[in-house]
């Protein structure tokens, strides 16, 4: 039996929740609702008036009222006797999810692999538990996406090719916001496009890993190796107060190890992590040894996963109130300070070096060849290699400065690494020794012979 019309609930309205738009007036066929005449002092608006004598409970007014707590069915019983706290219905307490930690799974021992840098980074991500990869093809990073497209279906993961880098980073915002590890491979122009989304990820504290296989710029530049995104990754991750850990591998093995580490750091700090390689390193094949374990990701308590436990969560970077936004920035700053504990570096023959070569990526590898050759000649030179460009490993560098009379910065950019070095020295209150440079742009990498010559020249001056 259908409910007789007269038994249907009639509307009721708390006038302070009526904005007086009047949509309900037209909706009522019985003319029960009329325009109000008095301003409600609580809202400054004019609520409608109800005269329900003719009301047949058709309910059309409910569907006409845009306010969730505007016109609503009359509750059972006499609502005036109800506890006002219960007026809008009783609810369960918001769910409080427990974080599910990631789990390490032992890997069987396997023979060393022979891998391109881009492939090694992809496998590092798989070992870190990443099964969601979003991307847009761009040389010289494409092998990473290609390998993921091939392997992920075998692991019931997904590689989704997005319409652009802009869409890519926002898919990462969604997937990372759901609490799962995800990543992309890109190169300089594509990374530029992702900056908007990276700022949102940092603001909303969403993890995600970006492997930026840098190429020559500015503009379309070329597809040859360059290191000219240092400024971008260390000082310019989109608008606002942004910072992210920047890892700088220089061998295929480190492409795997540091990409894997990037996921761990990304979740530890709820922040994106950038891995910067250069076109050479992405394309370079070398020996890669797998670690002893792989990870199965957990699920953080803050995730918007789309299940009951996490229903109360919000991923968001809006703080309308100035004070709230200042507090949010203070929390981020505090987090950035904690990230400084992640300073990492590699020192090769640095302890007694009078000349310190500072370099990262493939140029660091070239420099290592030069340093080793000169060491055989008795030259006191060492290679200091930041593995984190941000935070710059200044504490480790400082320990070598008492002997160092000179720093030679070797880089495939216009001095962007040197800027980071100088800034770190300045902030640490260290008077820098003489700083010289070997720089190339356009896709030309400093070569071992050139670096050796520059070290020799500086040694002669020192002598």
């Amino acid at each position: 039996m259908p409910t007789a019309l007269r038994e249907r609930p009639k509307p009721f309205l708390l006038p302070e929740f009526c904005k007086g738009c009047g949509r309900c007036i037209d909706a009522c066929a019985k003319d029960c609702i009329g325009p109000g005449r008095e301003i409600d002092p609580r809202t400054g608006l004019v609520p409608v008036t109800l005269n329900l004598e003719a009301c047949n409970g058709c309910g059309l007014c409910f569907d006409a009222c845009p306010e969730p707590y505007g016109l609503r069915p009359q509750p059972e019983g006499d609502f005036e006797l109800q506890d006002p706290e219960k007026l809008f219905g009783e609810r369960a307490a918001p769910p409080r999810p427990a974080p599910i930690p990631p789990r390490a799974i032992p890997l069987p021992p396997v023979a060393p692999l022979v891998l391109k840098g881009n492939y090694a980074a992809a496998i590092g991500a798989l070992l870190a538990g990443c099964r969601h990869v979003f991307g847009y093809p761009i040389t010289p990073s494409t092998e990473g996406a290609e390998l993921m497209a091939k392997l992920l279906p075998k692991l019931d993961g997904i590689f989704l090719q997005a319409v652009s880098e802009v869409a890519t980073v926002n898919m990462m915002y969604g997937c990372g916001g759901a609490g799962l590890p995800c990543m992309t491979f890109t190169s300089s122009p594509g990374f530029s496009l992702m900056l908007e989304g990276i700022s949102y990820m940092i603001g909303a504290e969403v993890p995600g890993v970006f492997v930026n296989v840098m190429r020559g710029g500015p503009g379309l530049g070329n597809i040859a190796p360059e290191q000219a995104d240092v400024k971008l990754v260390c000082r310019g991750l989109g608008h606002g107060n942004t910072q992210a850990i920047v890892l700088a591998p220089s061998t295929p093995q480190e492409m795997l190890d540091l990409t894997r580490l990037a996921f761990e750091l990304s979740f530890r700090y709820r922040n994106p992590v950038v891995v910067v390689a250069d076109g050479y390193l992405g394309q370079m094949t070398g020996k890669v040894v797998l670690p002893a374990t792989m990870m199965e990701p957990g699920l953080p308590d803050w995730a918007v996963f789309g299940d009951g436990a996490h229903r109360g969560n919000l991923i968001n970077s809006i703080y309308l109130d100035e004070k709230d936004l200042e507090n949010h920035n203070a929390r981020l700053n505090e987090k950035y300070r904690r990230m400084e504990a992640e300073e990492r570096s590699d020192a090769f023959s640095c302890s007694d070096a009078t000349t310190l070569v500072v370099a990262f990526g493939t140029p660091a590898r070239m420099a290592k060849g030069a340093v080793e050759a000169l060491r055989r000649e008795g030259v006191r030179v060492g290679l200091f290699r930041p593995l984190t460009l941000w935070p710059f490993p200044i504490a480790a560098l400082k320990s070598f400065l008492p002997n160092a009379k000179r720093i030679l910065v070797v880089e495939a950019s216009n001095g962007q690494l040197e800027d980071e070095l100088r800034l770190a020295l300045s902030k640490a209150g260290v008077a820098p020794p003489l700083i010289e440079s070997v720089r190339h742009a356009g896709g030309i990498l400093p070569q071992a012979a050139e670096i050796a010559a520059a070290i020799r020249a500086s040694q002669e001056v020192l002598a």
Binding site: L60, L155, V163, N170, M172, F305, S317
Partner: protein
């Protein structure tokens, strides 16, 4: 109405009236659409599974109201964020809620590509023909003649025609259901409510992406009363944005994804790792080639196989327990351009992976030979394809040079593409870089999935070895 928060804690801290009132102006259409969405979520019993993506625009604060998982997206990017959520948890029900500036202007690429992808998400598009939050500027859906803050004399054709999103989206293959509805009277509201319910249900049933465009009122920026705005939508918007179902091709449920796998066996198998180490044949580093680090360069045109040969050398060296690197360098062309490979083999660790002065050069054509032969230092070795280099340049004194007809031998064997293996055989005979079996094993391992090709390649290697006779220097 349990899908709305009991108290809007996020709305100004849930203080006072804001705890139960929206931030929308009187007469705004958003509140109604929120309500229909909340009712659909309740009716389908999916509150726990739902993730709502708030856009940028007046509905940016959707997350104040809906008691579901909430994520707030950058301007225009809600469909991309929605896809990220959907793939992270295919059981979640993801609602991408957008206004006209968000969806039909700055986010066109995201919505069109998401719609064509067709992954089941629900898109609710609220079109009120004006920019609300920024203060009444022209929207992509602003009507011709309609005045706005950035079309003060009325929109003209020079500012572009209004964007008809429902028709555009319905023209794509991806979506299963597209409808345009309105809110200006009880009948339209009933249809709107049904359309929203259907659009969410199609996702719940894993049938596909649904798109509902809602023509909504913005009395504030149209400068009219709510009632006048309803009439304006009916009289002015409907002729440009006709209501109705634009597409409805409800398929069988098709969207299903297995849970990602995290077992070590699957991963090791997927990346092709194996516990089996290739046999070693070398008894020591090939010091006779000078030092503990050997630089090689293989150079030719794209398609010559220089990179494959370089990769085989690298693998062979690593099999023998040395460190090795390979860096390719290509011209911009996919085929037929230059293709150079730098290889290093080192007893310990390769320090500088580039080969500006290679101890061994393999040149597959005349330009490569002319370009790189002068870089080979005394004591070095050059091998070149004498089938194509008929007039070799003069070589540096003290460099051993071998002209070997890589191509002719390969063609005689029936496949020109094995010329790189002929070259490796020649390199083997000329340099004794590794024991012979080292490279042969590397070749066999590389072809383990194409076993039929192994005999041909073995033969090519043998003929390459036999072809080496020291050339006059």
């Amino acid at each position: 109405m349990s899908v709305f928060y009991e108290k809007f804690e996020r709305h100004a801290g849930g203080e006072g009236l804001k705890s139960h009132a929206t931030h929308y102006c009187p007469g705004c259409g958003h509140g109604l659409v929120h309500k229909y969405l909340a009712e659909a979520i309740e009716e389908l019993g999916i509150q726990d599974r739902t993730v709502a993506i708030s856009p940028v625009g007046c509905s940016v604060f959707l997350y104040y109201y809906l008691d579901v998982g909430n994520s707030q997206a950058a301007h225009g990017r809600a469909p991309a964020v929605a896809l990220g959520h959907k793939y992270a948890n295919p059981d979640s029900i993801v609602i991408s809620y957008q206004g006209d500036g968000d969806l039909a202007s700055i986010g066109l690429a995201e919505i069109v590509s998401a719609a064509q992808l067709g992954t089941p998400i629900t898109v609710i598009f609220v079109n009120n023909a004006i920019y609300g939050m920024t203060g009444g500027q022209m929207a992509p859906t602003t009507l011709i003649g309609q005045k706005s803050a950035t079309s003060p004399e009325g929109r003209t054709a020079l500012m572009g025609q209004p964007m008809k999103m429902a028709e555009l989206i319905a023209g794509l293959d991806g979506p299963v259901y597209v409808e345009r509805v309105a809110l200006f009277d009880a009948k339209q509201r009933m249809k709107a409510k049904k359309a929203v319910l259907k659009a969410v249900r199609l996702q719940v049933e894993n049938r596909g992406l649904a798109f509902v465009e809602v023509l909504a009122e913005c009395p504030t920026h149209l400068g009219m009363t709510p009632e006048e705005t309803e009439a304006w939508v009916k009289e002015k918007m409907l002729p440009v944005f006709p209501l109705g179902v634009k597409k409805d091709v409800v398929p069988e449920p098709w969207f299903h994804r297995e849970k990602p796998r995290f077992d070590a066996e699957s991963l090791v198998a997927a990346i092709g790792a194996t516990a089996e180490r290739p046999p070693r044949f070398a008894t020591g580093f090939p010091a006779h080639l000078g030092g503990t680090d050997i630089a090689l360069k293989l150079a030719g045109a794209g398609g010559d196989g220089a990179q494959t040969a370089a990769m085989l050398l690298t693998r062979a060296a690593i099999h023998e327990g040395y460190d090795a690197t390979h860096i390719p360098s290509y011209g911009p062309e996919s085929r037929g351009g230059t293709s150079y490979a730098d290889v290093h083999v080192s007893a310990d660790e390769v320090l500088s992976p580039a080969s500006p002065h290679p101890a061994i050069l393999v040149a597959f054509n005349a330009p490569s030979l002319a370009k790189f032969a002068p870089d080979v230092p005394a004591g070095g070795t050059i091998l070149y394809d004498s089938s194509v280099v008929k007039d070799p340049p003069p070589f540096r004194a003290g460099v051993r040079v071998f002209g070997v007809p890589f191509t002719e031998i390969a063609v005689d064997l029936g496949k020109a593409m094995v010329k790189n293996i002929v070259a490796l055989g020649a390199l083997q005979a000329a340099t004794k870089l590794f024991p012979e079996e080292t490279l042969r094993t590397a070749i066999r391992l590389a072809l383990k999935d194409k076993c039929a090709l192994i005999p041909l390649n073995e033969e090519a290697f043998s003929w390459g070895m036999r072809a080496v006779t020291p050339a006059p220097n």
